[in-house]
């Protein structure tokens, strides 16, 4: 599905949250083999033990991040690989690829963005003892979805 939301309407980027959520739902359904659903606002946010990030450059500048706890990251990797996801490296690789596909799927849903926005290769941080600071002012869109009842946060941090 492609929306007709254009990059020229950056002023309406607060309306992009449903597009991000749709991008996440499609990636999980096709690549992980399970449905995720948007969490109620009262749901807890995840313990961010794994954070995968993909940079966006060009018409959209910023970072898309996917965060979850270690158990959830391991479960996602197992679902993607079968029961062979037995190393932290494979878990990080799987979460990085999920983040990459969400970023690409989101970008492809914004009409006109495909040619004018580039994605970096994914980076994955394991361990929760860090804080994220962006030097640029901008917008942060965040949603929490439930995977097998466990929360996964997806955050789009855009430079203004």
């Amino acid at each position: 599905m492609t929306t007709d939301t254009s990059l020229v309407t950056r002023s309406h980027e607060e309306n992009w949250l449903p597009i991000i959520e749709l991008a996440v739902e499609e990636v999980f359904e096709m690549m992980v083999g399970c449905r995720v659903k948007v969490a109620a606002q009262s749901e807890n946010k995840p313990n961010e033990e794994f954070t995968a990030m993909v940079g966006l450059a060009g018409a959209l500048c910023g970072i898309l991040a996917v965060c979850c706890d270690a158990k959830t990251a391991g479960e996602i990797a197992k679902r993607m690989l079968g029961d062979t996801a037995d190393s932290q490296e494979q878990v990080a690789d799987a979460l990085g690829e999920i983040c990459n596909m969400i970023a690409g799927n989101f970008k492809n849903k914004l009409s006109g963005s495909g040619d004018r926005c580039m994605l970096s290769v994914p980076t994955v941080i394991s361990g929760g003892e860090y804080s994220f600071h962006s030097l640029a002012d901008g917008t942060c869109l965040e949603t929490v979805l439930l995977f097998e009842g466990a929360p996964i946060a997806v955050r789009l941090q855009l430079e203004s």
């Binding site: 359904e29 690989l81 690789d93 990085g96 690829e97 690409g104 970008k107 492809n108 495909g114 040619d115």
Partner: protein, 128 residues
């Protein structure tokens, strides 16, 4: 269908396994799977392997998938080997660049095994 050797090029080892599994689910019998994590490794792999099919990502470090397709087109050993791109890049310009460079198919991530079947069987000259 005869068994084939596939070269799968992606910087994610998880994605390489998923692509391999999708090929098997599409009913393609694999005699051998050769893996490469970027275009440069794939060019090296082509020198020492006889390959029937190449599936290639675009965004990779060292050498990206589009450059790999351009370089492979110049290699005598790669002549006639169908290349199908599997990538998160969904723009029309990427599709045009890939097909112009010599790719025969284009699959956008995320994908289903059915989509792999739909795009790969025709380039192998097989009916779905």
């Amino acid at each position: 269908m005869d068994k084939i050797t596939a070269l799968i090029v992606d910087d994610s080892s998880v994605m390489r396994k998923i692509v391999e599994r999708s090929l098997r689910q599409a009913g393609i019998e694999l005699e051998k799977v050769v893996e490469a994590s970027n275009g440069a490794e794939a060019l090296t792999a082509l020198q020492s392997n006889v390959v029937d099919l190449i599936l290639c990502d675009i965004n990779m470090p060292v050498m990206d998938g589009l450059e790999f397709v351009r370089q492979a087109a110049k290699l005598e050993k790669a002549k006639g080997i169908p290349i199908v791109m599997i990538t998160t890049e969904g723009s029309e310009s990427h599709v045009v660049q890939a097909l112009t460079a010599g790719a025969r198919g284009y699959i956008r991530k995320p994908f289903t095994p059915d989509q792999v079947k739909e795009h790969v069987l025709p380039v192998l000259g097989k009916k779905q």
